[in-house]
Structures are given as C-alpha cells and as structure tokens.
C-alpha cells in the first residue's frame, strides 16, 4: 500500500514538480470555492426561538452543547442490554459509542477529533 502511494505521489510530482499548477484547474477550483462561499453565506439555519440579543458565537455554543447532550440521551427501542449498557445494533458492540463507526474513514474518530490512526 505504502509503495503504491510512493509511486503515485512521485508520478504526480513529475506533473507538478512539484511544477506550476495549470491555471485552468486553479480557476475552476477558485470559482468553486467562491460558489461555496456564496452558498454558505446564504445559509441561515437559525431557529425562531433563538434570542436575537445573543451573539452568533453564544448561539453556536448553545447549539454545540445541545447537540452533545442530545447525543448522550438519545434512545431508541432495544438500545440497552440487561445491565444497562448501550448496545449498538449496527455493530453488536456493547458499551461502545453511539452513532457512526469511529473507524469508518480509517482513523479513530470521536466527534471529529482523531484519537488514533
């Protein structure tokens, strides 16, 4: 695996030479990012009940802690064994994390932070 990566990388390296990047690719990626900037700027997913006096960052902090709390208490039927341990129905793991498999992208992920690879 690692040897293939080396060859891939070095063949790309011959492309770049790490040489000058092609301007058309740059333009495309730049315009993509501008489009994304425009899109994200138009997203206003603020629920009506938020206090308009709070700053954006205060509202964001609240949303983060609500999300974390929701993750902790979310229950579906048959999610716990007789000892009260959470059972992940998808993986069969007892006492493990809820939600998607932490290693689904190769490293070990917890709420976005990588804790092992």
């Amino acid at each position: 695996m690692a040897s293939n990566l080396c060859r891939l990388f070095s063949s790309s390296a011959l492309k770049l030479t790490f040489s000058h990047t092609r301007s058309d690719q740059l333009t495309r990626s730049l315009s993509n990012s501008v489009n994304r900037l425009i899109c994200s700027a138009t997203q206003q997913p603020h629920p009506l009940e938020e206090n308009p006096k709070q700053s954006h960052k205060q509202r964001l902090r609240k949303r983060i802690s609500k999300t974390k709390a929701r993750k902790k208490i979310k229950k579906t039927t048959n999610d716990y064994d007789d000892n009260g341990n959470f059972v992940n129905k998808a993986t069969g793991e007892v006492g493990g994390p809820r939600g998607p498999e932490p290693t689904r992208f190769g490293d070990w992920e917890k709420n976005g932070r990588c804790c092992d690879f």
């Binding site: 690692a2 030479t17 994304r36 964001l60 793991e93 290693t103 804790c115």
Partner: protein, 564 residues
Amino acid sequence: MSQYFDFAVIGSGVAGLRYALDVAKHGSVAVITKAEPHESNTNYAQGGVGSVLSPSDSVESHMHDTIVAGAYLCDEETVRVVCTEGPDRIRELMAMGASFDHGEDGNLHLTREGGHSHHRIAHVADMTGREIVRVLLKAVVNDPNISVFDHHFAIDLLTYQDCSDTICLGVDTFNTETLEAIRFISKVTLLASGGAGHIYPTTTNPLIATGDGMAMAYRAQAVISNMEFVQFHPTALADEGLPIKPTKSRENAFLISEAVRGAGGILYNLGMERFMPLYDERAELAPRDVVARSIDDQLKKRNEKYVLLDISHRASEKILSHFPNIAAECLKYGLDITRQPIPVVPAAHYMCGGVHARLHGETNIQGLYVAGEVACTGLHGANRLASNSIVEALVFARRAVQPSIDHMKSSKHDPSTSNLWGKPVVTSSLGSDAMDKILTMTRTIRKELQSIMWDYVGIVRSTTRLEFAEQKIGELEAKWEEYLFQQGWEPTMVGLEACEMRNLFCCAELVISSALSRHESRGLHYTVDFPNLEESKRLPTIIFPCSSVKSTWSSRQLHKQLMC
C-alpha cells in the same frame, strides 16, 4: 547516591511496565520515569491494539497488512513473531483486568482501522492506552519487588568496554524534584523510554517525548536504525491560524479526523486554491500519507505555516452533529467551523526507527534490552500500521524477560562498580541569574531546532534541504553549548531542560543522517532527489557506533565529558 537493583527499567509506558511485572518474579526492579508514572505515549494511544483475535482472521493476514503498510521494509521474522504472539499478550491484559469492549455475543468487539483487511482492533472505548496503563500500573504499584522512581530523569547509561564488548551496568538519573543525582546500578537494563515527537514543533506526543532513550543509547554506542521514518498525521489544528491564539502553546496536537474529509471537507492553501486534485485523483480522500505529503509540499512551496480544511459548505446542523468536538475546540479560539475553514498542519506522531533490537529485544550492548517505541525491531519497516505499536511493545517486553533473567543470574553486584564513572553534578553552584538565562536560551534554541526540523526535515525532503538542516543544526548546537559553558555550566552538570535539549539535538541529527543515507523514497521517507522505490535499496538504515569524532556535549556520555 547509588541504588542497587537486579533490573532497571527506564520508562513507564506499556513496554516498561509489562516487563517490570515479569522480571519482578526473579529479582528487584526499579522503574525509572521522568514525570508521573502514567505520563507516557501509551497513555495517549486512544484507539486500540491490533491482533488476530477472531477465527475469521489469520496471522498471515495481519502479517501481510503489516508488511504492505511498511513498504516491504519490515523484518519478516519480527512481523511473524508479533502477529503470532500478540493475541496471547492481549489476553493476559484482559486477565489482569483491562476491560476491552465486547459485542452482544460476549466476544471481543473488534474494529477495523485503515490498512487492516480484517476487523482486529481490540479496544477499551477510545481510551485503550489509558486503560492498559491503569491496569499495569496498579499491578506494578502493588508488587513488593518493584520500586517506582517518578520524576527521575535518566541522563546516561553506565557502560564500559570489555575488549570489543560494551557492557551496560545501569543508568545515571537526576531527581527533578529534589535536584539530586541518583545512580542506579543494575545487572540488566530495559530501555522503554518511548518516542521523540518534540523534535518537531507540532506533535501528538506529550511533553515527555524528547527522545531521551534513543540519545542515551546512541551515546552509549548502541546501533540505531531507520530513524528517517517519522510518521505524521496530516491535519492537526494549527494554532497560528486561529483568530484568538491560545495563551500557552498546546502540549499535544488536536488532530482533525479523516472523517471531516470523508464528510466532504476540502483542503485549500492560503491562496484559497484547492490543491489535492493536483497530487492525487482521490483528492482529499487519498490515503493520509499522500495528504500529509501534499500539505507539506504546499507549505514549503508557498512558505506558509498552515493550510485550510473547509467543511463550511455542508449544512451547519450536520457539522455540529458529527463534529461537536472540533466545533467546540475551534469556537474557544474564535473560529466557527460552520462558516470558516479550519487551519491545519501535519503533526509528528510516531518514530518507526530507534535502537536496533533483535528478536528478544537484545541490543549490541550486553545487559541492555529495548522495547516499545524507542526500539527498532523491524516490525514497522518504513511505515507503521495503525494499532501495531502497543502490541509490539507488549510482545517485545515479554520476549526480553527470559534473556534478561539469564543475564541477571550470571552477573554479580560489586559495590565498587558505582565508582567506575564520574558522578553528575547539579546546578546549585550556578546563580539563579545564570540559570534563568540558560533556561530562556534553551527554550529559544528548542523552538529553533523544531522549526529547522519542520522546515527542512519534514515530510517532503531533498538532499539540499537535509544538508542545510544538518549544517544549521550543527551551528545551533555549537551556539547553545557555547552559551551554556559561558554561563558557568560544567560538562558534568545536569538539569532537565538542558539534558532534554541535548537529547533532542542527538535525535534530530540521527533523523537527518538517516534520511540523507536513503537514496530512494519508501514509506514515510520521501525525497524529491530519489522519488522512487529502489528494490536494491530495500534495506534498513543502520547507524553503527564509532568513536565519536564529534566533540559536542550532546554526543558524549556525561561521565565521559572529562576524558577528552
């Protein structure tokens, strides 16, 4: 002051503690650790241990995955041994009380990390390392034959020449709390002192990882191997890019998971150019080695400190739901990841190389054994497979036990041994003014060394850059030593920051000279001057001891300082 033990263990991570428990049945053991006993790289290894623990898996498959990840530089016999003996070592941990996660069927829950073809990672939630350290430390503390010496910094191994053999009889240490030098005379010494992440400015390693063991072994004339293979994680949170800078520098890196890229995160340089497609058709989903190399290349080309990982184009609810840890951490420093890109930079993580070890952890120094990250056993080759490091430490710690016992039984303590070497001297004779100046200078020099290493001995290397680094670091070392001695420092003096600094210099130089000697690119070592794999170069890099032509303070054992 001298202490006499049958076995001295330097380091209190998984390798050191596991070994101590076994040899303690045969003699007295000193576990010497530079900070708190639980403070080790193991403690931060949160994922799991990889081993063949399922009937559908096989030793051959684990071996294959290891060797492929290692770019075929692994020692096949070592790989066979670790893959074969790993399962028993993990079962022993379970028997000692480590509560690995189980499935509903009562069997171990095994997960699958990148590079593994089977589910084989046994884990304790996401704090496996901490749980292993907890269980081992509890047993160590309760063992009447083991004495733990925390806050004892190991300075140099005590060795002497007997014809062509080098023999190790213990280690000099320095109690960083009482400021007292303590000499340990031991029949057998196990070096299990871990990694050297702090030769780089951004690292996942805790502050204790300053390459002390590798440096001590090198100064004692041990053979060192494969130091060029340094593993990086591509995307650690880059503090320089945060709107509000942290008031004190982060001790170990906050890694942004591949899951962010998996969820659509895009990498940009500071010119807002998306660069990954230029390096690999898989773009951001290329393997992490490729991503790390690409980021490094961009940083060096553009002379910048970090790149940007942007997930803000995804729905903010999804971002907050999947990545609340990152959102919270960034928000602390004024960054909203639902609207702004995340500054990231690669972080040094693991040293695949180290003190050359044979199949039972023996080194070329009699009475000195090695295990864990400080060792180069041949398991990892040119790149470590995920979750192979703890199992390597367990296997080699166990394998070193019998030869250690045999060696111990054939040795005798001689009370006069302690006088064979001059004693280290503490810094009480230096005034506080001189000490302050030395400390300030040492901290500055450390940052400069890390900066040179990152700029010139990073992920994408070249002969020119490596040679430049070699020269710059040599000059930096000379400048630092000159300053020390000008302030009244004596050659046999010891102090924590100064001794760590000399070890960092030593390790940095070993990485550079190893990197210069590999005229191919393989695994973690990539150089633009030799960008391809060369079958004829598929050999480990070995640094043999030689009577040191160098006369730096960092390159000679403390007790030999007065002899030149």
